[in-house]
C-alpha cells in the first residue's frame, strides 16, 4: 500500500526538483546575457547566427508546407460545410482561432522541438562526453556564454519568426482554398480581418517567445546535465524532446486559461 504512494511521492519530488533546476538554469542564462564579456560577443554572435540558420532558415520549407496543407484542408472543408449552413462567416473565426492562434504556434514549436531541440541536446551532451565543456571551463570560457546563450537566443528568435511565417502561409493558403470554393478575395480578407483581434496578435507573439524559451532552455539543460558517457547522448535527446513537448502542451493550456 505504502509502496505506490511512495513511488508517486518520489516522482512528484523529482518533477518539482527538475522544475526548480530549470528555473535556476534560466536565471543563469539571463544573467549570462547581461554579463557577457565584451571580447566574447563577436564569437557568441557568430554562434547565434549559425543557430538561427539551423533552427529557423532550414526549417522554413517544412513549416511552409505543413502550414499550407493544414490551412488548405481546414478552410476548403469549412467553406463547403459552413456554406451549406449559411455560416461561411465563421471561417474567419476558424482560421484565426484554430490555426493562427492555436495550431500555428503549437505545430511550429513541436516541429522545431523535434528538429532542433533534439539537435541541441545531442550536441551539448556530446560536448560533455568529449570533454569539451571541461576544456572550455579550463580555458576560462563559460560554457553558458559560449554554448547555451546563443542557442537559447537563437531558439527564441527562430520560433517567433517561424510562427509568424506559419500564420502568413496559413492565411495565404486559406485564401487559395476559399477562392477554389468560389469565395471572392475581398470577402475572404474581410471575414479574416473582422475575426482577428488585438488579443489574438499578442497571444501569438507571446507564444512565440514562451515556446522558443522552452525549446532553448530544456534541450540545453538536458544536454549539459548529461553524464560523460556516449550512451548518455541519446538519453539526453530523448529527455529533451519529451520535456519540450510536454512543456509546450502544458503552456498551451495555460495560454487558453488566461485568454478565456
Amino acid at each position: 500500500m505504502i509502496a505506490p504512494i511512495s513511488a508517486i511521492g518520489r516522482g512528484i519530488s523529482r518533477w518539482v526538483s527538475t522544475v526548480g533546476a530549470l528555473a535556476r538554469f534560466l536565471s543563469v542564462i539571463l544573467v549570462a546575457a547581461v554579463r557577457l564579456p565584451a571580447p566574447g560577443r563577436k564569437v557568441v554572435w557568430r554562434v547565434f547566427k549559425d543557430q538561427i540558420w539551423f533552427t529557423a532558415v532550414q526549417a522554413i520549407p517544412l513549416l511552409a508546407i505543413l502550414s499550407a496543407i493544414l490551412s488548405f484542408l481546414v478552410i476548403s472543408q469549412a467553406v463547403k460545410e459552413l456554406g451549406r449552413l449559411g455560416a461561411s462567416e465563421l471561417i474567419g473565426t476558424l482560421l484565426v482561432l484554430a490555426i493562427v492562434r492555436e495550431l500555428g504556434p503549437l505545430l511550429t514549436a513541436l516541429t522545431v522541438a523535434g528538429r532542433s531541440g533534439t539537435a541541441i541536446a545531442s550536441e551539448l551532451a556530446t560536448n560533455r562526453a568529449m570533454g569539451e565543456i571541461k576544456a572550455l571551463e579550463g580555458m576560462g570560457i563559460d560554457p553558458v556564454h559560449y554554448i547555451v546563450l546563443p542557442r537559447f537566443g537563437g531558439a527564441v528568435i527562430s520560433i517567433f519568426g517561424l510562427i509568424i511565417l506559419f500564420d502568413i502561409v496559413a492565411i495565404a493558403s486559406g485564401l487559395v482554398a476559399a477562392m477554389s470554393s468560389g469565395m471572392a478575395t475581398t470577402r475572404y480578407f474581410e471575414i479574416v480581418m473582422r475575426s482577428l483581434t488585438f488579443q489574438d496578435i499578442w497571444i501569438t507573439i507571446a507564444k512565440g517567445f514562451v515556446f522558443g524559451g522552452v525549446i532553448g532552455l530544456l534541450p540545453s539543460f538536458q544536454g549539459l546535465a548529461a553524464g560523460g558517457a556516449s550512451t548518455d547522448v541519446p538519453v539526453a535527446a530523448s529527455k529533451a524532446i519529451v520535456g519540450s513537448m510536454l512543456g509546450i502542451f502544458l503552456l498551451s493550456v495555460v495560454f487558453v486559461l488566461f485568454s478565456i
Binding site: 564579456p37 564569437v43 556530446t126 560536448n127 569539451e132 571551463e137 579550463g138 580555458m139
Partner: protein, 223 residues
C-alpha cells in the same frame, strides 16, 4: 620564501585514493605518475577548481581557486594553460579556430592580431597544413598538437597537462614537452609545467625536473 607555482596540500581526489602533498616550484617541470585508482587523473581538474576535491587544498600562484567566485575563477584560468585528457577540442571548429577560441573569447586583440598569433603557434606546433580541418578528420598526433597549441595561446607561465602523451609516439611527446617548457630559463624552464599521467615515456625523463609516483596508497618522490 617564494610562493610555489602550484601547491597541493593533503589532496585526495577519489575514495581510497592517494593523499597528494607537494609543491611545484616556478620554472620547473614536475610529473605525477599513477594509475586511475590513485586519483592522479583528477589532480589538474581539482587544481583548476573544475572538480571538487575530496579533502585538502590546492593553490596556484598562492590562489585557492575553489574560494573564488565563478567569474573570478574563469578570469584566473585564462592566465593558465590547460590541456585536458583526451584533448577536449571543439569538434565543430577547425584546428585553427580551436586555437583562436581562447584569444577571441578572452582578449581584446583585433582579429588580425589573433590570426597572426595563431599562425605563429600553428607553425611552431607544425600543424599549419591541417589548420583548416576539423579534429574528427585529423590524426591523434595533430589533435594533441592542436590541444597544446590552444593551451599555449595566451603564452601562460603555468601549464597543467593531463595525460598529454597518450596515443602519441615518444619522439612526438618529447617534442611537445619541449615546446610546452618554452625553452631554458636561468632557474630551469621558461614555463612551469605540471604533468599528470599514467605512463611516462623514457625519452622524457631528462626533460622533467621532478617525478612523483602515486602507488600503494602513497606518494613517493622518485627524483
Amino acid at each position: 620564501m617564494t610562493t610555489p607555482a602550484i601547491s597541493f596540500s593533503e589532496i585526495v581526489t577519489t575514495a581510497n585514493g592517494v593523499e597528494f602533498t607537494l609543491d611545484v616550484p616556478h620554472n620547473r617541470c614536475v610529473a605525477i605518475v599513477g594509475d586511475e585508482r590513485s586519483g592522479v587523473d583528477d589532480l589538474c581538474g581539482v587544481a583548476l577548481g573544475l572538480e571538487p576535491a575530496g579533502s585538502g587544498t590546492v593553490e596556484i600562484d598562492g590562489q585557492n581557486l575553489s574560494q573564488l567566485s565563478r567569474t573570478e575563477a574563469l578570469a584566473f584560468r585564462r592566465k593558465l594553460g590547460y590541456l585536458p585528457a583526451g584533448d577536449g577540442l571543439m569538434q565543430n571548429l577547425s584546428l585553427k579556430d580551436n586555437v583562436a577560441l581562447p584569444l577571441r573569447f578572452g582578449s581584446n586583440f583585433a582579429e588580425k592580431e589573433i590570426n597572426g598569433r595563431v599562425r605563429v603557434i600553428l607553425a611552431a606546433l607544425r600543424i599549419s597544413q591541417a589548420a583548416g580541418l576539423r579534429p574528427a578528420v585529423v590524426r591523434e598526433e595533430h589533435r594533441r598538437r592542436t590541444a597544446i597549441a590552444r593551451a599555449l595561446a595566451f603564452d601562460p607561465n603555468i601549464l597543467l597537462l593531463e595525460a598529454p602523451f597518450d596515443g602519441i609516439t615518444d619522439r612526438v611527446a618529447a617534442e611537445l614537452l619541449d615546446i610546452a617548457l618554452g625553452g631554458e630559463h636561468s632557474g630551469g624552464s621558461r614555463r612551469t609545467v605540471l604533468v599528470t599521467t599514467q605512463h611516462l615515456p623514457q625519452e622524457l625523463l631528462s626533460r622533467i625536473h621532478s617525478i612523483y609516483r602515486a602507488a600503494k596508497g602513497k606518494l613517493h618522490k622518485e627524483r
